[in-house]
């Protein structure tokens, strides 16, 4: 440590919000260079490389072949797939000296597809699994939390290529299992969540989320069944339809000054409505119609109305996922002005449907449900408007927010919310990219067959922060052995020359036996050294201290805090015992 390029900091950096960020800076693992840009100092780089090694070994184990693309890429292939535009501000774009357009790769689907198309031509060449471990670039709107969300970050991205759906499924499951092994080896606590709704094909896309309170991703899970999903992927449990016979007639009321759900509910509870005799009206009895405009890629803006129970907001993420790849925006005053049948605050299903505005409703709006909703006149609402009798929407949409307590789609129990950090993603891309580049090979029957692809990512540099986030205490980091920068941290806490020499000898013996050893040979006080050892988080700390005179050193387990004395023999007995302890 007297030579190691390392200076620990006593105080948390001012701009650091999350524990991993604070600790990785304080312990001298990384340093900021600019927003979302970090340099890796020796200890940080060691951890990064160990993670990389584990990822590589598991990719190789499932037949992955490593290749490496440039990070600087020409525009054309990304233009073909429209990602040049779709990525928006998140893509770093630049020009060379001849004014040709380039980008810094966010992921490499295009390049892999083109390369495989260029090299292979027959079904016999498949299955194929390729991967790279490479710097990726994304101009995040809010780079945050240190290396948890950087703008230059190390990623492992794999791509599978198959000639049929069974091949793709095999590749998908092989990656899924490899990812489980990787995260297990890294000692990361994680859940696998569905990333798209069942409507799009079940397990076609799953995310690996590290459980963490500081995570940006919200997901829901069911304690009873283990079901877990991104909110985008949750399928609403719809009630059974209600027979229409005998339901009360719809009645329009004057409801002055009730442009919001709250004011409407207040009115309803004082209006003495016959169909609510004996019970209070709640927001869930109202149907809120939200007016948007939507544009399919290459198309024009069109109006779209979404009806959701008044007690739920429209969730941006769920709405975006449901409408993808179309873009959308809230309707503005000009849209209302252009369509005078739309009465702001009083929009009802009838005017929408009568005037040809596409109208999608929450899956809870099943036939026979009765709603208090807009009557398409300012200051008027309709009560007991029954779906399937008084209006028939154009379809359903998964856009309403998911809440804790909502039933799990598998029927096993209520959902609870949790936060996580995305550390991996497995995705059955199918033929999207192969279609874009006409990636065909000769099939078994002599006819061309289009390739089908999967893409699979792991955030390698992010994992350093994720592991730090999950494995630390108030004193510092606590690395799992598989990724720790060193296996043993020998602290000289005795100024005696003989103890010093003995510690050095012990460190040498451990090193010779194959253990990665960090020796704190600095002249600092024992207190400073202990603090640093706790901060750095090497799993095993050997203290050569006062006990040296009595023939013992102390072995501390950084994780459990347990301490034990190891007798120092004239030979390498102490080293052997320490090795036995740390490998056992």
């Amino acid at each position: 440590m007297s030579e190691l390029f390392l200076r620990t900091l006593r105080d948390d950096p001012a701009d650091a919000e999350v524990p991993s960020h604070k600790l990785l800076i304080r312990a001298g693992y990384v340093r900021p260079v600019g927003p979302g840009l970090y340099s890796w100092l020796p200890l940080g780089l060691k951890v990064l490389r160990k993670i990389e090694h584990i990822v590589r070994s598991e990719m190789d184990a499932i037949g992955g072949q490593e290749i490496l693309f440039p990070a600087l890429l020409p525009r054309a292939p990304y233009e073909t797939t429209n990602r040049w535009t779709e990525y928006g501000d998140t893509l770093f774009r630049l020009q060379d000296r001849r004014d040709n357009d380039y980008l810094l790769g966010p992921t490499h689907e295009e390049m892999f597809t083109l390369t495989v198309k260029g090299e292979y031509s027959s079904y016999k060449d498949f299955p194929l699994r390729l991967y790279q471990i490479q710097n990726k670039y994304r101009d995040e709107a809010r780079p945050r939390a240190g290396i948890l969300r950087g703008r230059e970050f190390l990623m492992k991205d794999s791509y599978s290529f198959d000639v049929d759906d069974d091949g793709l499924k095999n590749a998908y499951h092989a990656h899924r299992e490899a990812y489980q092994r990787i995260f297990d080896r890294l000692k990361v606590r994680y859940v696998i969540v569905s990333a798209v709704s069942g409507a799009m094909g079940g397990s076609a896309s799953e995310e690996f989320l590290a459980e963490s309170e500081v995570g940006e991703d919200t997901f829901v899970r069911c304690a009873q069944s283990g079901y877990a999903a991104n909110v985008e992927a949750v399928v609403t449990t719809a009630p059974d339809p209600i027979p229409l016979d005998g339901l009360p007639e719809a009645v329009v009321y004057d409801t002055p000054d009730t442009p919001t759900i709250a004011t409407l509910v207040d009115w309803a509870n004082t209006a003495d409505l016959p169909s609510f005799a004996g019970r209070a009206v709640t927001a869930a009895d109202t149907l809120k119609n939200v007016l948007l405009k939507v544009r399919e890629p290459g198309g024009d803006w069109e109006l779209l109305a979404i009806g959701v129970p008044g007690d739920r907001e429209v969730d941006d993420k769920r709405l975006g996922a449901a409408l993808d790849p179309a873009e959308y925006a809230m309707a503005d005053d000009a849209d209302f002005a252009a369509h005078p049948f739309l009465k702001k605050g009083y929009i009802g299903p009838k005017a929408l449907l009568a005037n040809g505005v596409r109208y999608l409703v929450d899956p809870r709006v099943v036939d026979g449900t009765a709603w208090i909703t807009g009557a398409d006149e300012t200051g008027r609402h309709v009560v007991d408007l029954v779906a399937g009798r008084d209006f028939t929407p154009d379809g359903t949409i998964e856009a309403a927010e998911v809440r804790e307590g909502d039933p799990s789609p598998d029927g096993a129990g209520p959902l609870v919310a949790a936060r996580g950090i995305e550390i991996g993603h497995v995705f059955q891309l199918g033929r999207k990219y192969a279609d874009a580049f006409n990636a065909d090979v000769l099939g078994e029957n002599g006819k061309p067959v289009r390739l089908t692809m999967g893409s699979y990512g792991i955030g390698v540099s992010r994992l350093v922060a994720v592991i730090a986030e999950q494995h630390h205490d108030e004193l510092g980091l606590r690395w799992p052995g598989s990724v720790a920068p060193f296996a043993v941290h020998v602290v000289i806490a005795n100024k005696d020359a003989e103890a010093r020499a003995g510690a050095t000898e012990l460190a040498t013996a451990l090193d010779r036996a194959g253990a990665d050893v960090l020796l704190d040979d600095r002249t600092a006080s024992p207190g400073v050294k202990f603090k640093d050892a706790e901060l750095l988080g090497v799993p095993w700390i050997v203290v050569v201290g006062r006990g040296w005179a009595d023939g013992v050193v102390e072995l501390r387990d950084r994780f459990s805090g347990e301490k034990r004395e190891i007798p120092v023999g004239p030979d390498t007995t102490a080293a052997e015992q320490i090795l036995a302890a740390i490998t056992g």
Copy 2:
């Protein structure tokens, strides 16, 4: 090989000019992605990683500590050192979503200096040697020759930090020796050349050039002494001055239509000049005055005239190095028009000096040398104009071309020209960057001391091409064992099921014994397989062919072409013998 992501090509790619480029593409090591941008396929990546490993091990051996910076860097530090501007079109610049300026790092002096300044504060912390192995970016005007000159390339850059000049010298020599070990291990034939002239401080900068006919760098060497230098660094051997007494008087002649050296020499040889009685006039007897304009950084354009013997051109590289950091351009018609005393084609020293134009001459223009040169009137020249008598230049400049046969600066013999590829550079930067960032630490005497730096680079990805350039024949690549993608290439050249099984078993035995084995288990013909094996260039080829029935396999040395038979035992004898051959 039936599963390896590899397709070899029969024909040279259309745009490839140099052997390494052709072979690395044909053998499926790399693929072009754009101008100066290449992807590494599995075999290429293996070679790249082996080189990286050797570089890393030798850097670690001299106490280098590895860290890693982003490639995407903020503008400010490069603005401080002026490199943001100085790099010109070679720097890739871009903006983020907030319109902040960034660059893709060409080298990282700024970042290392700032980082060391940030972490260390005392002379006790030094010496310090840091390095990284990282992608660098340069927008080359003419990316060429495949990965020999790419725009994204892998480089090892080290930086040494010391508090005194002795420390810097130690670091410099440690790196110089490490580089020698690295290139020796890689089996690269190279020379170390002085990169700046002795005037700037002797060995302050040296380049490692791989000997290669396709190299872009020209250097000169002396067979007698081993002296080698870039042309920029060659110091002209000046003749002794000649006593002025008794030299003929200068005489002005009418020399109509002699604006060039050739026409002037023709005139002189018909003019019956007294001082050339009995010998022919040559271009070396004339003094050519070249008019430039020069601008120091931050300054204005000023005229500069350079006088060189008429038989030599002004060498752009030498002129640039001599004038650095000033920029320069040839004087144009407007400059001549603005200074009517300058007669194009007839410029002489007298008008230059009389009108205050700075006038530097080649070191060969010593006192007492007599010249035929312009008389500052159109159609007139002066003969026997003597330096030190008739004109006194403002100084000398190393701008004239260096030619084969010129004397070596060390006096040992004539220089011969050779071409090379820059593979490494060691450079005593001194305090340039420390001055820019005020990088001081507390000295032993309690006063601040400014750090002194060295920078040391190795072109890691370029070395793949350099080794291919130096180690190939007409059939393909011939990798040295230290960097070969595989140690042994086992070719199944016998359709017999038993031979096939035996070959597979042999490959497994070799693999188990620790040798990296490539097994050609494809159904292709033996001819195709042999051609591929020669093209791929694995050092040892084991052929399981017709001899199998007689109990032998063939071991071929790809480098020497030597073949020998190895008896196949019932156990692993063949594997043992092969291992003995390839490791011995």
